[in-house]
């Protein structure tokens, strides 16, 4: 691990004492109770523009200073883990779109890799499939960060950036549409492969998009990185020291903003990440501004990764050649007995997974998206747990918010870039 600067930041109680010094006792001999302001309870959300979804935070305020914060989640709970126990592995793929709905392709890949790890085929995927999956993950990362940065700027009062990045995101959705047939609900991966190959001309479209998005990222930087208002609102606000970030289990850009150089793509390379060149950006002070800078740089690295994948994209099949895992081609199903049986068993009973348990962590745009699968054999999991990054990242709020001004709330929330669909599952 690279050397990191240790960040000094006080614990909640010390910060509060500093932010709101206790009133001195009055000279007239009156009790201090009269002079003490009453604490006010403010309910933010569940539907509030700055909470990006349905997050509710119950704040306790002393004047303008936050003295206590209690995040309440669960307004978007749909019981995905319960549903997974009743579905075959392939049937659950569309549900992963709805976790982090700003990066559905990355969720599809994460889930497929988890099931493939259980089956023991995650190292035996076809090369073309692996490269296409990396392209999917990185496009999803660019899309998610463009939205994250755009919304963050809007929270801090810069409307232009939001519209500017959204124009670019629209192009990613067009690419998704021609690739998967859907703009948001992609359901692109299958266990052991992909639902379809790249359409003709897609590589050129993608290259053109990459050339355009680099310009857009540079322009976004000129809007924000040296913008006095933006810098004043984000620098030194919401500082998370390295040890606290680890203690609270932060992952993704939020962890790297605090100076921990850890990226699952580098530390435990899956797919073909070990063959590709990219850097992992880290912050130095752990404040909101650093988390923003990390996201900006990650987008550039993603562009670099997609360029390399398009250059090296091999030919060949996209699915593993095993009829017991992937559906056989339709023309063979209609003409041959064995393929017909495979098709029938695959659809009605699902892939036959061995008994056992695995955990697979995937570097999603928001952090570590992990799937824990407990199998007793057969086509459905006995238990499937989704370790979602937004859920864990939000748990630090009750530690982080006290001591900040109320107006810093939106700056801190925006810098976390969370998605409630994934938090509440």
């Amino acid at each position: 691990m690279a050397e990191v600067r240790h960040i000094e930041f006080k614990e909640t109680a010390a910060r509060l004492a500093e932010a709101a010094p206790p009133p001195v006792s009055s000279p007239s001999g009156q009790g201090t109770d009269e002079l003490k302001g009453e604490k006010m309870v403010l309910n933010v959300g569940p539907s509030h523009p700055a909470t990006h979804g349905v997050l509710r935070i119950v704040l306790e305020l002393d004047g303008e200073i936050i003295t206590g914060a209690r995040p309440e989640v669960g307004y978007l709970h749909r019981g995905d883990e319960k549903i997974a126990e009743n579905f075959t592995y392939t049937q659950f793929v569309p549900y992963t779109d709805r976790l982090d709905y700003l990066a559905p392709l990355a969720n599809n890949v994460a889930y497929a890799l988890a099931v493939e790890k259980l089956l023991g085929i995650d190292r035996h995927l076809t090369p073309r499939c692996q490269f296409i999956r990396v392209i999917c993950c990185e496009l999803a990362r660019i899309s998610s960060h463009l939205l994250g940065v755009g919304c963050y700027a809007m929270d801090c009062g810069a409307m232009t950036v939001f519209l500017h990045t959204f124009t670019e995101r629209e192009k990613i959705y067009n690419l998704c549409e021609s690739l998967t047939g859907a703009r948001f609900t992609t359901a692109y991966t299958r266990i052991g492969g992909l639902s379809r190959d790249l359409p003709p001309g897609w590589v050129e479209q993608c290259r053109q998009f990459l050339n355009e998005v680099v310009v857009n990222i540079d322009e976004t930087e000129t809007f924000l990185t040296r913008n006095r208002i933006f810098v004043d609102r984000t620098q030194g606000v919401g500082v998370i020291p390295k040890d606290v970030a680890i203690d609270y289990g932060l992952t993704g850009p939020n962890l790297r903003g605090s100076g921990v150089e850890h990226d699952l793509r580098k530390a435990h390379p899956y797919l073909v990440y070990d063959q590709l060149k990219f850097e992992v950006p880290v912050g130095t002070t752990g404040d909101c501004y650093d988390r923003y800078l990390v996201r900006m740089e990650e987008m550039r690295q993603s562009v670099r990764l997609v360029h390399q994948c398009l250059d090296q994209l091999p030919g060949g099949p996209i699915n593993v050649p095993d009829g017991k895992i992937v559906l056989p081609p339709k023309d063979r199903v209609l003409t041959r007995m064995e393929e017909l049986i495979h098709h029938f068993i695959n659809v009605t009973q699902g892939v036959n997974a061995p008994p056992g348990e695995i955990y697979f962590g995937h570097e999603n745009p928001k952090g570590e998206l992990g799937f824990y699968i407990n199998s007793k054999g057969g086509g459905t999991p006995h238990r499937l747990k989704i370790r979602s990054p937004s859920f864990v990242n939000l748990s630090i709020l009750s530690w982080l918010l006290p001591g900040h001004m109320l107006s810093d709330l939106v700056a801190v929330l925006g810098s976390f870039d969370f998605v409630m669909g994934e938090c509440d599952r």
Binding site: M1, V73, G74, H77, G79, E81, K82, I83, N86, F87, T88, Q91, K117, L118, G120, I246, D247, Y248, G249, V260, H262, A267, H268, T348, Q349, G356, E357, I358, Y359, G361, E368, G370, Y372, N374, H382, R383, K385, R387, F391, V392, L394, S395, W399, D424, R425
Partner: protein, 224 residues
């Protein structure tokens, strides 16, 4: 240092408490025979073996077995980049084990989620409330005896009073049924052998009672 070596070191510190490491898909699992000593084991794993990041805590319901619940801890160390899985079992009668919030602060929400979904209480937790479901919800939905379609409740103010607000819940595929209703039932109740389609049949019954016919508004009377 590999995960297996770290697992052996942890095992050596607690003789008789931790089982032989099990390896599956390059992942190491250790079973702690006494759930009461989990915080102790975790503290040693964090302080002496560098497992400074608690990835996840989760629970599994082994319905029909004793002890019924398994609690699973996923540990990770940023200094050695190794994962380790710890498991402990909790019986249904006890339904309680000590918290590890004193070791990692991130355990707070994970333990609340397990309490919410499986109904296992964590002794010493600073704020053990429901997290995903709402206050006052009467059931623990991830338990295996909780049906997919939901459960009726007699507390109309806090929970649905009818099962399956979506008219039967999602489809469940079971191969080998005699007709499509049996092959793709909407509700699977783990206790019963027969697969029932309660919600859909009930709804059909309601329509029949209202209109005298289950499909559409009823037979058209001939004009005289």
């Amino acid at each position: 240092m590999t995960a297996l070596e770290l697992a052996q070191q942890l095992r050596a510190k607690f003789p008789g408490l931790i089982s032989e490491p099990v390896e599956f898909r390059e992942e190491i699992t250790l079973k702690v025979s006494d759930a009461e000593r989990i915080p102790e084991v975790c503290a040693v794993a964090k302080k002496e073996l560098g497992f400074d990041y608690l990835v996840d805590i989760t629970s599994v319901d082994n319905y029909g077995d004793d002890p019924r619940f398994t609690i699973i801890y996923h540990l990770y160390g940023y200094s050695h980049l190794c994962w380790l899985r710890l498991k402990a079992e909790v019986s249904e009668e006890k339904g309680e084990m000590p918290t590890v919030t004193g070791v990692w602060r991130t355990a707070d929400w994970h333990e609340r989620e397990i309490y919410d979904m499986m109904g296992i209480r964590f002794r010493g937790h600073p704020d053990l409330r429901r997290i995903l479901m709402w206050e006052g919800y009467p059931y623990f939905p991830l338990r295996k005896d909780f049906p997919l379609a939901g459960k009726a409740s007699d507390v109309p103010e806090v929970a649905f009073t009818n099962a399956a607000p979506l008219e039967g819940g999602p489809f469940v595929t079971i191969a080998g049924g005699k007709d499509t209703v049996a092959r793709e039932p909407r509700v699977r109740i783990p206790d019963t052998e027969t697969v029932e389609t309660n919600a859909r049949l009930e709804r059909r019954q309601d329509i029949k009672e209202a209109h005298g016919h289950s499909h559409g508004p009823g037979p058209i009377e001939k004009k005289k």
